[in-house]
């Protein structure tokens, strides 16, 4: 048991990584599911344990291969990435049982084991990106998760061939993003000769005016910006979320962009000194306008969508705007809001995409007009969409309210009352598109005479786990706020680079 805890930093990534080939070796759909599920559950327990270990502001470190950093690869956990690990593994554990049922209708039978193997690889990649303390290792895991994501999105082609072009779009833009990121890494490696994040931050400190380093910073932020889908770089996102299999839409919407945001935060605050982005005002000038444009433009586009999955995808882009706004405020309170919104938006959007997936399974179409009057026939699923929608708007009592409240407070703290006004105004746009769903589901009379059954329990239960979490974390805001606060302190206060407890065996120098 103690060995398990001692090596928990590596095991959280290793177990899902081992699960992927095991799924393929057994080649049986049921076995593959159970292997993935247990791997995911195991990762969830470990990341929960890790979060509890670092919630007081401690930092944990693990030396891979027995070589001490900066020579060897290091995994390093503080509250910020422990929180991201928890988001990823929790969502994955909830989505997997849902996927077991939902893919039956969406993906050809002989692809099911491959689906689970790919899912596990994607999961491994996302966890790895979050946990690693080595800049190049981030790139490697990013590619693992991205490549498997492209495949997972393309698997939607069984139902709608447009999934192929959506996956291809994502492939091209995602690869450009990853290339920019690795160019940035190359430039900082050239200027400093190291790739360990803590070591980098020390060596980059005196290089603030170095043009190469500044260029590297630009490349890294833009490269990850593509992965985050910051407003003008969001082209891949609606297609990918719309045409991917339902379970994958839920998983990606809840995790992939969040992990990318975490990477930007980590590089901005822990690797480059925070001064870098903010005293030069570059990031402020870029992030502020784009975050606000995202909040409004993407919400406006969402209002006009007929395809419910696409509507939710645009709403995700708008929500990413809120997360970036928290970063642009450049304060501990702003970052707290960002970290809390990562979590709250993950559970909200995960629940909504899963509910929409259940509707699609029953009526075979994601188009809103086809869903007219479904509120009576699928009461539970429709209620899940409404509750998720309330959280998107930020109605008190839901998780969305907590993070929006934190964001508003952060804006007021800095005296940006105008920004606070914009946050409220853009929430009104969310009211419009959520109302559109409510209107279709409950107030429009059904057009078809075919009776539609309520979604099966196997889909409803995972959906409601997240819906209840949305309400729970809306009522009990303290848990997630405390975790986010510690995370923000660790990012902005440089706690990440401080003394760390070495887990496992101390590496050779």
């Amino acid at each position: 048991m103690s060995a398990l805890v001692n090596h928990s930093l590596i095991l959280v990534v290793l177990i899902p990584l081992l699960a992927a080939p095991l799924c393929m070796l057994f080649g049986n759909r049921a076995v593959a599911f159970w292997i993935s599920f247990f791997a995911s559950l195991f990762a969830l327990i470990l990341s929960l344990h890790l979060l509890l270990m670092v919630i007081d502001g401690d930092v944990l470190s693990y030396h891979l291969g027995g070589w001490a950093p900066p020579l060897g690869i290091e995994y390093r956990v503080d509250a910020a990435n422990a929180l991201v690990l928890l988001i990823v593994s929790a969502i994955s554990t909830v989505v997997l049982p849902y996927a077991r049922v939902s893919i039956k209708d969406e993906i050809a039978e002989h692809h099911h084991t491959l689906f689970f193997a790919c899912y596990m690889l994607c999961f491994t990649g996302l966890l790895g990106v979050a946990i690693t303390g080595d800049a190049f290792n981030v790139f490697v895991f990013l590619e693992i998760s991205s490549l498997s994501t492209y495949v997972l999105v393309a698997l939607g082609a069984n139902k709608d061939k447009r999934a192929l072009s959506a996956a291809y779009d994502y492939l091209i833009l995602g690869t450009i993003g990853a290339t920019f990121f690795v160019i940035g890494l190359g430039l900082i490696y050239m200027s400093t000769g190291t790739l360990n994040m803590v070591d980098l931050s020390q060596r980059l400190a005196p290089l603030e005016d170095n043009k190469t380093v500044r260029t590297a910073f630009a490349f890294i932020v833009i490269g990850m910006g593509l992965k985050i889908a910051i407003y003008p770089l969001h082209r891949w996102l609606p297609g990918a979320y719309t045409y991917a299999p339902s379970a994958i839409s839920a998983f990606l919407a809840a995790t992939a962009t969040k992990v990318a945001i975490y990477v930007v935060l980590r590089f901005m605050f822990s690797v480059f000194s925070a001064k870098f982005g903010f005293e030069l005002d570059t990031v402020r000038l870029i992030f502020f306008p784009f975050a606000i444009i995202a909040m409004f433009a993407a919400s406006l586009i969402a209002v006009y969508q007929v395809n419910l999955k696409r509507l939710l995808a645009y709403s995700s882009i708008a929500q990413i705007g809120y997360m970036l706004l928290g970063v642009a405020l450049f304060s501990s309170a702003g970052l707290t809001a960002t970290m809390a919104h990562l979590f709250n938006h993950a559970i909200t959007k995960g629940a909504m995409f899963m509910a929409v997936g259940a509707i699609i399974m029953r009526i075979g179409s994601p188009l809103l007009p086809k869903m007219a009057g479904l509120g009576r026939q699928m009461p539970w699923t429709s209620a899940a969409i409404v509750l998720g929608g309330l959280s998107l708007i930020g109605v008190p009592g839901t998780a969305g309210f907590v993070s929006k409240w934190l964001l508003l407070t952060a804006a007021f703290q800095q005296g940006y009352w105008f920004i606070a006004l914009l946050i409220v105004a853009s929430s009104l746009l969310a009211v419009i598109y959520v109302w559109k769903c409510v209107e279709t589901l409950y107030l429009t009379p059904s057009t078809s005479n075919v009776a539609v059954a309520e979604a099966p329990l196997s889909l409803l239960v995972p959906t409601y786990v997240l819906v209840i979490a949305t309400i729970w974390f809306g009522l009990d805001a303290s848990t997630i706020t405390v975790a986010s606060q510690t995370a923000a302190e660790s990012l902005i206060g440089g706690g990440y680079g401080g003394e760390a407890t070495v887990m496992g065996v101390e590496g050779r120098k």
Binding site: A3, H7, I10, L14, L17, L18, A20, P21, L22, C23, M24, L25, G27, Y62, H63, L64, G65, G66, L114, A117, K161, G504, V505, G507, R508
Partner: protein, 145 residues
């Protein structure tokens, strides 16, 4: 199968040395140039040559798709499994030093094991790519879209 006598004869002569050379590159990898990646490619080339000359169907009969898929997974499992063995031996993940009495001997064992994993996966992935390209339907029908 009466055509291309020369090609067929030469292929039959070449396949075995190619595979042998692949194994040499694999197991000599920790002393000289080479390693799992190159070895996997070379080893796969032997099969691909056979498939190109004698037909994809013949190759697929001998090395069916499900075997290739299993090998892709097996390689990764060998690599990660080596790390797990190190964990059980009391070291960190992929700390080869604990694999033998002396640290440098352990490093040798570790490298050989993980390179074998790399080789197996690369070999299988090369074959899978070859199958995917060579075995694609010659024409996509309108109704397939």
């Amino acid at each position: 199968m009466d055509h291309h006598l020369i090609l067929r004869a030469i292929t039959k002569i070449l396949v075995a040395p190619i595979l042998l050379y692949g194994l040499y590159v694999q197991f000599h990898g920790d002393f000289g140039p080479g390693g799992g990646f190159q070895a996997g490619v070379i080893f796969a080339v032997g099969f691909i040559l056979y498939g190109t000359v004698f037909g994809l169907r013949n190759l697929r009969d001998k090395v069916p798709d499900y075997v290739v898929h299993r090998f892709v997974a097996l390689g990764l499992l060998i690599y990660a499994g080596t790390g797990v063995v190190n964990l059980f031996q009391g070291g960190n993940f992929l700390d080869y030093n604990v694999m033998a009495q002396k640290g440098y001997q352990g490093q040798h064992w570790g490298i050989i094991a993980v390179e074998l994993g790399v080789g197996v996966t690369v070999f299988a992935v090369m074959l899978a790519i070859y199958y995917a390209f060579a075995g694609r339907p010659p024409q996509i029908n309108d109704e397939d879209w």
